[in-house]
Structure formats: C-alpha cells, structure tokens
C-alpha cells in the first residue's frame, strides 16, 4: 500500500469516525421515529415491494417522510466500511501479538468483540440482500379444498384441512370463544412432486427456497356470523435470510465469548496476564 492509501485506510478505520457515525445514526433514527409515527402506511409496503420499487414509488412520493431512511442507508454503509477496516486492523494486530498470550483460551476469547463486529456487517449485508432481491407474495388467500398457484412459480397449493382451537375458560376472559390456536394442512405440488406441510401462526415451513407464513385465517370466532374457512399466506423467497440469521448466530456467539472472557478470565488481584 502506498502512503495515500494507508492514510485513507487509517481514516476509514478510526474510532473517532465510528463514534461520529454511531451518534449520527442515533439522531437519524430518532428523527425517523418522528417521521414513521403516524405514517406507517408509507413503510409497510417496503417488505412486499422490495427496496428498488419502494424507492421509486413511495420513497420519491413522500421525500419529507423518507429522507431519514436514505440517510440511514448511507450511515449504515459507512459504518460497515468503518467496522470492517477497524476490525481487520485489530484482528491482524492480535494475531501478530499471539506470542504474548500464555494460554490459548485467553487468546481465542480475545476475538469475541471482533466476531461481533464482523457479525454486524453480515447482518447488515443480509438485510440489504433481502430488501434488494427478496420476492414476496403477500396475502395469498386460499379457501378450504381450493387450489391456488403461487404467482411466478410452478408451485400449486391446496388447503386440505383447517383446525382451529377456540379458547374456553376463566383465565383469559378476552379470548373466550376466540381462536387461540390454528393449524392448517397444505398439499404442495411442484411438477410431479407432492408434499404435505402444516402451517400455524409463528410456525412457517419451507418448500423449494420459499418460506410460507400464516398471515390470517377465518373463522376467528366460534359464535356470531360464520365465515367461510380460509387462510391467508405470505410466501417469500428471501436470499438474504440465511445471511442475517448467520450474522445473528455469529453475534450471539461473540457475545457469549465476550461474557465468558469477562467472567472466567478476569485476572485475579496481583496476577499478571
């Protein structure tokens, strides 16, 4: 690296820049809160449309409400670059100084903070990939014994059965005669392949790179006007999902390592590390 490159690298990885970017992000998010409150309808379609289409429609139509979001994008990008440069520098320094560590667990646990930093970059990259490339088919309504094709795919879905448990008891008064548990059996056909899957609230399933989430269902009440049984699905193909969950797992690993380092390897009084 020549001198100017070294200077740029050093500037990009400086802690002062980290602190400045983090504080700006806090201010931006606080402004975003004021903007988002009461105008959630502008941001709700972001998950369905994807980033590019959302920017071209809602983003441009309501610049006063969305400017913080674009700022957040820039700040998170700069923060990722800063985190990468700073962490990489410190990881190299740590490896270089390995000989000063007498025991390997202590040396290994020293990487905890760096793991968390890399994990953050992975999570942010995952979110970016998700918002750029995810394909979403929201509110896909399927009535009982009805076949529905998932748009843009060869997958056919059939609602085989729908079982709803209604709450009856004294403890949860507000839930009396209302649905408390739902389970739907689906038959999925793709070409010659047929698969049975079960779905519930917060219990999605995966089929051919697509995840299926239960969004809504009916009838929600045991008494009153009876509605035809149906379910509404969110079907999503999200290439960023593995990245952000891998990042989450990595961050938690780093966090546990950090707490271990903090607890187990605290030097005792008078002991030299």
């Amino acid at each position: 690296m020549d001198n100017s490159m070294k200077k740029i690298w050093k500037a990009l990885g400086s802690i002062r820049l980290t602190i400045m970017l983090l504080l700006l992000t806090v201010c931006d998010l606080a402004g975003g809160y004021l903007s988002l409150k009461g105008s959630e309808k502008i941001f709700r379609p972001l998950n369905d449309l994807g980033l590019i289409e959302w920017v071209n429609t809602y983003g441009r139509t309501y610049p006063g409400h969305t400017v913080w979001f674009f700022m957040l994008f820039i700040l998170l990008f700069l923060l990722s670059v800063n985190t990468f440069v700073c962490t990489t520098d410190r990881v190299f320094l740590l490896i270089k100084n390995r000989k000063y560590f007498t025991d390997s667990p202590r040396f290994f646990l020293k990487f905890s903070a760096h793991i968390m930093h890399y994990a953050l970059i992975l999570i942010l990259t995952g979110y970016l990939v998700s918002y750029l490339y995810a394909v979403t088919c929201s509110t896909m309504i399927i009535a009982l014994k009805q076949d529905v094709m998932i748009p843009g795919t060869e997958i056919k879905t059939r609602l085989q059965s729908l079982s709803i448990d209604y709450y009856q008891g004294d403890r949860l008064n507000f839930l009396n005669d209302r649905a408390c548990k739902v389970k739907a059996d689906l038959l999925l056909t793709s070409g010659s392949r047929e698969t049975n899957k079960t779905i519930g609230l917060n219990s999605p399933f995966w089929f051919k790179d697509f995840s299926f989430h239960l969004d809504d269902f009916a009838p929600r009440y045991r008494s009153g006007m009876q509605r035809k049984p149906y379910i509404s699905l969110i079907v999503k193909k999200d290439p960023g999902m593995k990245l952000y969950f891998a990042g989450t797992l990595l961050f938690l690993t780093g966090l546990i390592m950090y707490l271990c380092q903090w607890f187990l390897l605290q030097p005792k009084k008078g002991e030299r590390v």
Binding site: I15, E40, S130, L172
Partner: protein, 266 residues
C-alpha cells in the same frame, strides 16, 4: 384483573413509603426503608406475575412500566443492603417509575394471537432487563459524578481506587447484552410471523435501534483517550435519559387517576 392492579397500587404505596424513610429519616432509622421496599417489591412481583398469568401464553402488551420498577429494585437489592452506597437514587427511581405507571397506564390493550411464541416473551423480558440495566448504570454514573464533585481530597483519592467508576460500564455491558438478545428475539419473531426481520408497523422499532446504537457508541468511548471516566459517566446518564424517553415513554398512556373501583374489589 383487579388483583393485578391492586397489587401494583400497593407496591407503589410501599415504594412511596420507602422513599419517605430515605428522604426524611436520619441516622440508624434510615434503614427502616428496607421493610416497605421489600413489601413493595413483593407486591410488584405478584402484580407482574399476575399480568403474565392473565395473558399466558400470549405476551402482555405495554407492560414495561409495571415491570421496570421490580427489575430495578431486584437488581439493586444487593446495593441497597450496602451502608456506604447511596440509597436515595435507586429508591427514588423505583418510586417515581412506579408512580408514573400508576398515573399513566396503557395496560388496557389485549394481547394478540401472533405473540404466542417464546421469542415474543424473550423480546419483552430481556428488553425490560436491558432497560433496567441502562437505568441502573445511569444511577451509578450520577453517584460517581457526585463523588467527583465532593471537595474532600481524601474522598477523591479513595475514588481513584474505587470500584465505583467501573460500575456504570459493567451495567451497560449487561444492558447491551440483554438489549441485543431482545432485538434478535424480535427479529426472529418477526421473521416467523411475517416473513421479514423488520416489521414497519410500529415506530418503536426505530427507538429500540437508536438505543442499541447509542450504547454501541458508549462501548467504544474508552478507546478514545479524551473520554475519561467522568465524561463517560455523563454519557451513561444521557443514555439512561434516552432509554426513558425512547423506550419507556412510548409504553405510557394518558394521565388518569388510579381506578378506585379496583381498590374496593380487593
């Protein structure tokens, strides 16, 4: 439900009594505050357990103000046994937060079915613990600042070797860990329920993120030589204020006097 409300009113009353003892008693009698404080904490625990009992397996909505005094009181119980540590700040915090919950309740929202997952409970409970840790860190930071301003040279010298200066940072590390767990649980819950790690239906997600970034910033301050313990203590105090504004205020409702009908049903 009236049991849950009454227990909290009772808790707030005993917290107020404990605060009175700390404020107005001098000498040995000041330790009398412990009795009402423990009764208050127990009543608060019963109220919190009741709130969970009447919503389980769903997550109770907007209940942070009712859980926060309990967690702060419980986490600081060791400190309140210590004669040297200041009692005024923790007892004041517990008392004022409980009174805020009494006069600005927002607990009338019914739990929703989508919260029936372990991740929603993890999101809520670790979030409350995180907030409690951040507020406790603020209390320790105020203590440290007060000691710094004490004009006695002996006290300042003692302070240099004291553990006190690290207390705020320790609580912030714990708070950050719990806050991170809360945010990740929210992310997983959101993905399972709606297929996306971020749901834009609630603006509070942004203040939760802002809090996380603020404390991430705090944890980097020690790497800058210009940020000494005193300056970092001010940052911890600001963090506690931000936690209250960003993550406590949003769980409060409009002002209303305690519902006396509930009291008479005891």
């Amino acid at each position: 439900m009236f049991f849950v409300r009454n227990m909290f009113y009772l808790a707030a009353f005993f917290y107020l009594l404990a605060w009175g003892f700390v404020l107005f008693c001098r000498g040995r009698s000041v330790s009398l505050f412990r009795g009402p404080l423990w009764i208050g904490l127990f009543a608060n625990f019963l109220s919190a357990a009741g709130r969970y009992y009447f919503s389980w397996p769903l997550m109770p909505m907007y209940q942070t103000p009712f859980f926060l005094p309990l967690f702060i009181g419980a986490l600081l119980s060791k400190r309140m046994r210590d004669k040297e540590a200041g009692r005024l700040l923790p007892v004041s915090a517990v008392c004022l937060l409980s009174l805020t919950a009494v006069f600005f309740p927002k607990d009338f929202y019914l739990p929703f079915l989508e919260s029936r997952t372990i991740f929603s409970h993890l999101f809520f409970l670790s979030g409350v613990v995180g907030k409690a840790c951040f507020i406790i860190a603020g209390i320790h930071a105020i203590d440290y600042i007060c000691l710094c301003h004490a004009d006695s040279g002996r006290q300042v010298q003692k302070l240099k070797n004291s553990e006190k200066r690290n207390q705020a940072s320790r609580w912030i590390i714990w708070g950050f860990a719990f806050w991170t767990i809360s945010m990740f649980s929210g992310e997983i819950w959101s993905y399972l329920g709606w297929g996306s790690p971020v749901v834009w239906d609630d603006a509070a997600i942004l203040t939760a993120m802002a809090t996380w970034f603020y404390y991430a910033c705090f944890l980097h301050l020690h790497l800058q030589k210009t940020w000494n313990f005193k300056k970092r203590s001010y940052a911890a105090i600001l963090g506690a204020v931000l936690t209250l504004v960003f993550n406590f205020y949003s769980d409060l409702g409009r002002f209303q006097l305690p519902d006396l009908d509930y009291l008479f049903q005891l």
